[in-house]
């Protein structure tokens, strides 16, 4: 057992942190989000070329840094600390994950393009009716010669406006909620029949409603096994969930640090409000939540490579993270008093991100149910 980081991993963290400190301050981010396109292709380019982090979890043969889940966690943690909206999760973790785990013929080329910052993925999986059930799909892909015809609507595709490609889950068979009959496709955003409605999200990202209308796909659009892609999807989503937990660790740390700092400065009734025992204990409870969340994120990150424990650990970590996001986020605002309610202070923006992370890929209830199923078996 060992919880230490290698020198390379520490260096990766320092590299990302120092770049973001210089190029992604709160004010720089604020300016970025205020104008179109609402994200920074320049920062993305720097991630690819200057920092090389878009290859963090890919093998060296593919041009990557030879890392894996731990490297994803390290990068995501820093993304969380700086509230980065650029699509590391969608592109490297999720897009990269599908390419790595599916045995996809074109994987090598596409991973090269990811690493170079040229291809950007967004994950179009959720549907308006489906809540957090990955298999609840009305989107269909029908065989058409050697290729496919795609029809359907995807909801709240995070990073849709930044993407060059969508990864799309669709039904090639089975009923609306069946595990069988689910397949995964790569669809170019520019393909005929693909339309999007773009909008900002409450936490500063951009997202799209995506409509597929008789979109013709080649045979090579299929990623993973036809109709049997649920295990693949679950694996990649587990990785995305744990990477999001990593991001949350960064967000939570900033919420806690920011609150400590503010309460030490802010004076009421002739003393810093950090002197009030009730607020001290609140901050201790926030601290405990942050520490527990970090512990669970480490655990789940390490267990991503253990196929037996992977899903259960990811669900447990997301539960812990979800609870921490709510408790730490809400109390950070409360302890900032009125100032926490203003757009001009960073703390509210961390709170908004924490709130959205709480429901990312599923609410705390969703992941509790998943954990129970995996740990205790089917309910009555």
């Amino acid at each position: 057992m060992d919880f230490s980081f290698t020198d390379e991993q520490s260096m990766l963290r320092d590299t990302v942190a120092s770049y973001l400190a210089d190029h992604y301050s709160f004010d720089q981010r604020h300016a970025l989000l205020a104008k179109e396109p609402g994200w920074s292709p320049a920062v993305w380019k720097a991630f690819a070329e200057e920092l090389g982090i878009l290859g963090a979890p890919f093998s060296e043969e593919l041009g990557g840094l030879g890392g894996g889940p731990i490297e994803n966690m390290i990068v995501m943690q820093e993304m969380g600390r700086a509230l980065v909206v650029e699509p590391y999760l969608g592109t490297v973790v999720i897009g990269g994950g599908f390419l790595k785990h599916s045995g996809y013929a074109g994987a090598e080329a596409l991973i090269g393009q990811i690493i170079a910052g040229e291809t950007i993925f967004a994950f179009a999986y959720a549907e308006p009716q489906g809540r957090y059930n990955l298999a609840d799909l009305k989107t269909t892909a029908k065989k058409d010669g050697s290729g496919w015809v795609l029809n359907g609507a995807k909801a709240v595709v995070i990073g849709g406006p930044y993407a060059s490609h969508f990864i799309v889950t669709a039904r090639t068979g089975g009923g609306q909620r069946d595990q069988d009959g689910v397949s995964v496709f790569i669809v170019e955003k520019g393909a005929a029949g693909v339309s999007t409605r773009d909008y900002p999200t409450v936490d500063g990202f951009r997202a799209s409603e995506v409509i597929f209308e008789n979109v013709k796909l080649g045979a090579d659009a299929l990623v993973g096994p036809e109709g049997q892609a649920m295990p693949l999807i679950e694996k990649v989503v587990d990785e995305a969930v744990v990477a999001t937990c990593g991001e949350a660790c960064g967000v939570l740390a900033k919420l806690h640090e920011g609150t400590l700092e503010y309460t030490k400065q802010r004076k009421q009734f002739g003393q810093p409000i950090s002197a009030f025992q009730v607020l001290q204990h609140r901050m201790v409870d926030m601290f405990i939540q942050v520490e527990q969340a970090v512990s669970m994120t480490y655990m789940a990150t390490i267990k991503l490579s253990d196929d037996k424990q992977r899903s259960k650990s990811a669900a447990a970590a997301k539960v812990q993270i979800g609870k921490a996001c709510r408790f730490v986020g809400q109390n950070a605002i409360q302890l900032h008093g009125g100032m926490g309610m203003t757009d001009e202070m960073a703390i509210g923006h961390y709170f908004k991100r924490a709130t959205m992370i709480e429901s990312a890929f599923g609410s705390t209830d969703h992941f509790l149910a998943r954990y129970e199923f995996l740990s205790l078996g089917q309910a009555a």
Partner: protein
């Protein structure tokens, strides 16, 4: 002990319901349904109807326009108003300033200010909080020096900064707490001034809150000249007015009727939304349970408020026990907002303000729920944070 309404009370309920139905302004209803910020005119539409009817200010003494209703009638009025989702009259004049004026003001001040409040001709705003003083209101720094001007009259020259001034961007007048004796103990040197917002030296700057809205403002005062006769009560004794006002601010804050209405909405959303298993979300064991627990909590709050009101009608004022109503009321409101956001799943994320309501992205009821939840965090902060309310109960009720 009984909970029954008398036949007279039931008749009153019918009267109220019919009046609201017949007179609620359709333009205001449409604006509310559209979910966008209201205009100044819209804010006042219902206010003016109520003023004409004589139902604007049930709590005021009869002589100034109050309705002389029993506590039960007031309770029925607030239930029906919430049920019909009417827009409550802005509190700044009606609920906050007016009691100070009719309690502490001179006859002349009552005649001068109460009609404008009642009729909605004058929009009031509050100048209490300051950047340095949050819950510690008495530490305010805005200073007012008394001078005799060239016209031979006496004025206060007021300078300083106020903040969290809600809807101050529309205000004609404001009521301000200012320091008239810098050497006295914090609470002893404060006076209560009414200031015309058009006076030179006043500027109002928007504060954008975290959900992106503009409701509150900073107000800067730079050598603002205020006639001495605009002071309510004695010089340096404004804290007495401030305390009375704060107690009034707290007592309506349980918001039981509004929360009941929002609980109905939540149930309706959860009936439409699907659970992961595909059925209505309200059939999901855990979502049901959260709704049920909230409903029970709200019932407990309702009956605690009724007990408090009963105590009040038998002579006790809105005492420090009302801090319970503030604490539980805001906790329940916030919990409702959290659950509504939870209920809509992915569609909690879109921020559609710039696209307009009914943009066709997700269900209409989902639009703005995240903003409501973010904005709702303020309720446990303002009006004396919930931590301060606990201090009040500890001291005043438990004798700690």
């Amino acid at each position: 002990m009984n909970l029954d309404f008398s036949p007279e009370e039931n008749a009153f309920r019918q009267e109220v319901r019919a009046f609201i139905k017949a007179n609620y302004p359709p333009a205001l209803r449409a604006a509310q349904d559209a979910g966008r910020p209201l205009t100044k005119e819209e804010y006042l539409m219902w206010h003016k109807v109520l003023a004409k009817k004589g139902w604007l200010a049930p709590s005021w003494p009869k002589e100034f326009g109050g309705t002389d209703w029993t506590p039960t009638q007031k309770y029925i009025w607030s239930e029906e108003s919430a049920e019909a989702e009417t827009l409550p009259p802005l509190p700044f004049g009606v609920s906050m300033l007016a009691p100070v004026v009719y309690t502490f003001g001179t006859e002349e001040q009552k005649k001068r200010f109460l009609p404008g409040i009642y009729n909605g001709d004058v929009w009031w705003c509050q100048g209490y909080s300051e950047p340095g003083a949050g819950s510690d209101l008495a530490s305010l720094k805005t200073k007012a020096e008394r001078v005799t001007a060239d016209d031979g009259k006496e004025y206060y020259i007021v300078s300083g900064q106020k903040t969290w001034t809600t809807l101050g961007q529309y205000a004609d007048w404001g009521f301000f707490l200012v320091r008239t004796d810098p050497d006295a103990k914090p609470q002893a040197g404060i006076s209560f001034l009414l200031i015309d917002m058009k006076t030179p030296g006043i500027s109002v700057r928007p504060i954008i809150t975290l959900e992106g809205g503009h409701e509150v403002n900073d107000v800067f005062l730079d050598n603002v000249k205020v006639p001495v006769e605009n002071r309510i009560f004695h010089e340096n004794q404004g804290w007495t007015c401030a305390k009375a006002l704060l107690a009034h601010e707290r007592s309506g804050i349980a918001g039981v009727a509004r929360s009941k209405r929002n609980l109905e909405k939540l149930r309706s959303i959860a009936t439409t939304e699907h659970s992961d298993a595909g059925g209505p979300l309200l059939s999901d064991a855990f979502f049901r349970r959260k709704v049920a627990e909230l409903e029970i909590d709200l019932t407990a709050l309702e009956f605690t408020e009724l007990r408090t009101l009963a105590g009040e009608s038998s002579g006790k004022g809105p005492g420090p026990e009302s801090s319970i109503l503030k604490i539980k009321g805001t906790e329940i409101q916030q919990r409702l907002q959290e659950l509504a956001l939870e209920a809509v799943g992915h569609y909690g994320a879109p921020f559609l303000r710039d696209l307009g309501h009914n943009a066709g992205i997700g269900p209409d009821y989902a639009d703005g729920l995240a903003g409501d939840m973010f904005n709702g965090r303020k309720t446990s902060i303002y009006g004396g944070s919930n931590e301060i309310q606990r201090n009040i109960i500890a001291k005043a009720v438990l004798g700690l």
